[in-house]
């Protein structure tokens, strides 16, 4: 086969694909990495922020990129979960996750997406060859390498292709991997607010019948909001003037943050749960949203993708170190085995939370209030949930444990 040969080809230059390229480049000198994207590489204009869980932050620390992100990061020191019916005025507190997963290590950090992209782009090693803008028109797995055909006629050969090309992954489709999907018939709404009172590093999660509403602390008296509404209601809200939206937000949040002003208009996206039936195909591994899209309720979407990176980078580097084929069936199986359980668990937990909380029937509310009360009074269960959400597991990938690959 003719074409440019690489050791690994990563398709998709979002935070997950970029982290993959940095992780591989840092772990082995001289590894020939192709990073391909449909759009030219530049720092996106994106006002949003992502919650980076403690375990996942360790990946960034280990890769030497955390210092660049820390400048604009806000630690989440506690998480307060409330449950309220539509007409309730008070915001009863049912669950409170306090403090740090380890001394000096907060549960999570909010990092502006722009800063994440900028830091990762700056950290790409000399061995990463950027191929963009480039449209992929074909993927063929061969006995020793996979071939990617580009729209401009070029071909790229690599023993392993990594699909980090998002929820509508073209590579996933080309490899005939099906997805299991559930449409929540809801929209996610996102915006950034300024508020009168200090958030004190608190993330609030209000469970309402229409779906969860989360406020995540940003530097200063600012917070990032993510919440869900029915499709029609979401469109109504988007059509309102910003002041009116601010009033709606204050109504949900009660008095916690005082008066609220929107920094930008509402952005919306359809909510769905989508998990690929397989995370691998011959010479192909799916990571990030290409593998799974979960409900944003727990802020775990990007974290799951970065955990994929930690697992797959280790599997690939282990193979390269021994001169073995990183795209061979046994290597891919090791990756899939490592990530599948965690993804299934996280999808079920978030999906379960949505179903449980998006419900205004009194007995259901009574039951979940009881459940939350039990969780709140049993430190081991709470610890387990916190550690799980923070991505801390003892036998997980090395990067997640803060170790070099």
């Amino acid at each position: 086969m003719n074409g440019a040969s690489f050791d690994i080809a990563i398709v998709g230059g979002g935070p997950v694909g970029l982290t993959m390229a940095v992780a591989l480049g840092r772990s082995m000198k001289g590894l020939r990495i192709a990073l391909i994207d449909r759009r030219p590489f530049s720092v996106p204009r994106d006002q949003r922020a992502s919650a980076i869980a403690a375990g996942v932050r360790r990946i960034f620390v280990e890769l030497g990129v955390w210092t660049g992100m820390a400048i604009g990061a806000e630690p989440v020191r506690q998480m307060k979960i409330t449950d309220s019916g539509t007409g309730d005025i008070s915001r009863p507190l049912f669950l409170r996750f306090d403090g740090d997963v380890a001394p000096g290590e907060p549960f999570a950090h909010l990092v502006p997406n722009q800063l994440v992209a900028e830091t990762l782009l700056g950290a790409l090693g000399p061995d990463v060859e950027i191929i963009a803008p480039a449209e992929i028109t074909g993927f063929t797995a061969g006995p020793a390498s996979a071939r990617l055909d580009l729209a401009d006629g070029r071909t790229i050969l690599a023993p392993l292709v990594i699909a980090a090309d998002g929820a509508n992954s073209a590579l996933r489709r080309m490899a005939d991997i099906e997805v299991i999907a559930h449409d929540y018939q809801q929209s996610g709404l996102v915006t950034t607010i300024m508020h009168e009172l200090d958030h004190e590093g608190t993330a609030y999660e209000h469970f309402r019948p229409a779906g969860p509403f989360a406020s995540l602390p940003l530097p200063g008296r600012r917070s990032s909001l993510v919440w869900t509404e029915g499709r029609a209601r979401a469109e109504e809200l988007k059509a309102l003037p910003l002041e009116a939206v601010a009033e709606e937000i204050e109504a949900v949040m009660g008095s916690t943050l005082g008066k609220v002003t929107l920094e930008e208009g509402l952005q919306s996206f359809p909510l769905r749960l989508q998990v690929a039936k397989s995370f691998t195909a011959p010479r192909l591994a799916l990571i990030g949203d290409a593998a799974h899209v979960i409900h944003p309720v727990a802020g775990q979407g990007l974290n799951l993708g970065l955990k994929d990176v930690a697992a797959l980078a280790e599997v690939a580097v282990d193979a390269f170190r021994l001169g073995l084929d990183p795209g061979a069936a046994d290597a891919l199986e090791r990756y899939q085995h490592w990530r599948r359980f965690d993804t299934a668990l996280m999808s079920m937990v978030t999906d379960g939370m949505v179903r449980l909380f998006s419900n205004d029937v009194a007995p259901v509310r009574a039951l979940r209030d009881l459940g939350m009360g039990v969780v709140d009074r049993l430190p081991p269960i709470k610890d387990f949930l916190i550690r799980r959400a923070a991505g801390l597991d003892s036998r997980g990938p090395k990067l997640l444990r803060g170790l070099p690959i």
Binding site: D7, M28, G30, R321
Partner: protein
Amino acid sequence: MTDTTINPDEIAKFAAMADEWWDPTGKFKPLHKFNPVRLGYVRDKAIAHFDKDSTVRRPLEGLRILDIGCGGGLLSEPLARLGATMVGIDAGEKNIAIAKHHAEQSGLAIDYRATTAEALDATGEKFDVVLNMEVVEHVDNVPLYMKSCASLVKPGGLMFTATINRTPRAWALAIVGAEYVLGWLPKGTHDFSKFLTPDEISALCGRYGLKVVDKVGVVFHPLSDEWRQSRDLGVNYMVLAEKPQA
């Protein structure tokens, strides 16, 4: 192709057999499972001995390595990817044809020859590293074989020997377990009386001018489904010997 006497049907047959050899989930799965631990040992010890850089993609660049009993090339190909100049020999013509076919497919230049250690030694060729992995338990004249292997090592070079110990546990695991219970290996693969102890291997190394510098056991961990290095030399083990500088 220069050799025009090769029959196309034969090539097709070897291609099919190569696919079988190289399918990590197929007939040779046990060998694929075993491969990382021995590759890791060879890589790490060679890097340390020859003072190579362990952080690069091709750390074994500049080393000439001989793989005795190379089979389909399961050790030769990875080591070639790590930068070594590989020569693979096997007494079986079929294995050499399979290995050649696969290396070509992988885009790797490996010098495969259908010959024996004794015949190669007679030509006077020398190597930085000689791999004598899972062979000695199959040969008839062990002293002659070990003498040839040792002679193929350059002064200052290394020889790796991997084999199975002659203990009741080895009989239970490597013959009863692997051949009869688990079906990992075809029945009759191993003959217990031909197994050698680490002391016997060490004595043979010493007799032919090599100094044993390390011994390590290899043990299967069923829960993680992988082989790992161990201090237990009771069943599978590897011996590293070096030839002093002239």
